[in-house]
């Protein structure tokens, strides 16, 4: 009964951290935009609030799992023991505090000029702390540190990608279709192409390190026979589909928008909107798989 709840709480944390870090970072580097799009502050603040609540819930869930029931788990000694003794408990507390600080930074900064760099900094702490939520926190020795660092970079790169997708979805939903607005959007899309390539490189390299540690070359052949291996393979297929969509955005749809800017851009914008929403949907599915994977025994543990 606890298992689906644990997976849901993990997914909410992934989602919250992706937007809190990735979307606020996008508004830092997307300099062509005159200001944040409508709903940007609400998107990031809600994501931060969800992350803070889900991180606290994850501590309560861990305490209940260990104590054997919610009644015994939701007590000060049980929750205190999880935070005091478990690296993942401390990481969840840090994540909740960083997320709350990010929400405060959004709420307290000027409406026209939100303090995106500060929000992104809190978001980076929250996203990096996700490394302790998976198997990265459970490997020992120098390899454990290599895996933790790889996990942090993986989470940060994934957040930068998925958070940018959420920001693009907002931009493409905007009503303002004036030539300057469309031009700013085009330049944001064009500017992201280089960043996106870098993010994919980081995701690939850190994913390989993780694959080596958690699956291992010796288990590669038999991987598909395990539930972990099947979910991981499905994740890689979805990732490949996201890459294909991203490549199509970059090499087909964005250049089409460049040409359409002069005339009627609505067809080009519609194509981009569908593509970005589909890519974001695949990203959501990948996060759900990751939330599930973290609860299963990886092949190297067998």
């Amino acid at each position: 009964m606890l298992e689906p709840a644990v997976i849901a709480v993990r997914l909410l944390q992934y989602l919250g951290a992706m937007v809190l870090f990735g979307s606020s970072l996008f508004f830092v580097y997307a300099r062509s935009l005159a200001g944040p799009p409508r709903g940007a502050r609400a998107l990031v603040a809600v994501a931060g609030a969800i992350l803070a609540i889900a991180a606290l819930l994850s501590i309560a869930a861990q305490a209940s799992l260990f104590a054997g029931s919610f009644a015994e788990g939701l007590t000060a000694p049980s929750i205190g023991a999880v935070i005091a003794w478990m690296p993942l408990g401390k990481a969840a507390l840090v994540r909740a505090l960083a997320a709350a600080a990010g929400v405060a930074a959004v709420a307290l900064s000027p409406r026209a000029r939100p303090a995106w760099p500060l929000v992104a900094a809190f978001g980076a702490v929250a996203a990096a702390s996700l490394a302790w939520m998976g198997h990265g926190g459970a490997t020992e020795g120098p390899l454990g540190w290599a895996q933790l660092i790889a996990d942090m970079l993986h989470a940060l790169a994934a957040a930068a990608w998925l958070g940018a997708l959420a920001a693009f979805a907002l931009l493409l939903a905007a009503r303002d279709r004036s030539p300057p607005a469309v031009d700013a959007l085009y330049r944001a899309l064009h500017g992201f192409s280089g960043i996106g390539t870098g993010l994919v490189a980081v995701l690939g390299a850190t994913g390989l390190v993780n694959g080596w540690v958690l699956v291992g070359p010796a288990h590669l052949g038999g991987m598909i026979g395990t539930p972990y291996g099947r979910l991981l393979s499905l994740k890689l297929v979805l990732f490949a589909a996201m890459l294909a969509l991203a490549a199509r955005n970059r090499f087909r749809l964005t250049p089409v928008l460049a040409i359409a800017r002069a005339g009627d851009p609505s067809a080009a914008l519609g194509g981009l909107r569908r593509s970005v929403l589909l890519e974001a949907g695949l990203g959501l599915a990948v996060l759900a798989l990751v939330a599930w994977l973290g609860t299963l025994a990886p092949p190297a543990a067998a």
């Binding site: 799992l65 260990f66 690296p87 993942l88 490997t139 020795g141 390899l143 290599a146 540690v213």
Partner: protein
């Protein structure tokens, strides 16, 4: 710059190639009395040693005499390094068969493992 990157790559590869992944899931590695053994002098304490750091609040064991369906009073504490559960018995165990049922909550991976072992005094 390139030499620096090469060094990092070699270092990473060497670390990955030589280290064997030690994924946490607390395992019982040693016990006193030894599992399935017969001891001649009844012990005053029982010690279980694990390969992982445990969370004290959720790690303990019970001792029973299955033949008599009887619980043996025991007070358990986790050692400061977190790897041993030490149970102090009210008095030396008398002759008979005993079963130890343990619960170990691993601090690093969040999994709760359980197990049991038996020994005899006599």
């Amino acid at each position: 710059m390139n030499r620096f990157l090469t060094l990092i790559a070699i270092g990473t590869a060497a670390t990955l190639a030589t280290a064997s992944p030690a994924l946490a899931h607390a395992k019982l590695v040693k016990s006193n009395p030894v599992a399935n053994s017969t001891v001649h002098v009844g012990p005053k304490s029982i010690t279980l040693t694990f390969d992982e750091r445990l969370v004290p609040a959720f790690s303990k064991f019970d001792v029973t005499m299955p033949a008599h369906k009887m619980n043996v009073p025991v007070k358990t504490v986790v050692s400061p390094d977190g790897k041993r559960i030490v149970g102090t018995l009210g008095s030396r165990l008398t002759a008979g068969a005993y079963k130890v049922t343990w619960t170990a909550a691993a601090a690093d991976d969040g999994h709760k493992m359980t197990g049991e072992l038996s020994f005899k005094v006599g």
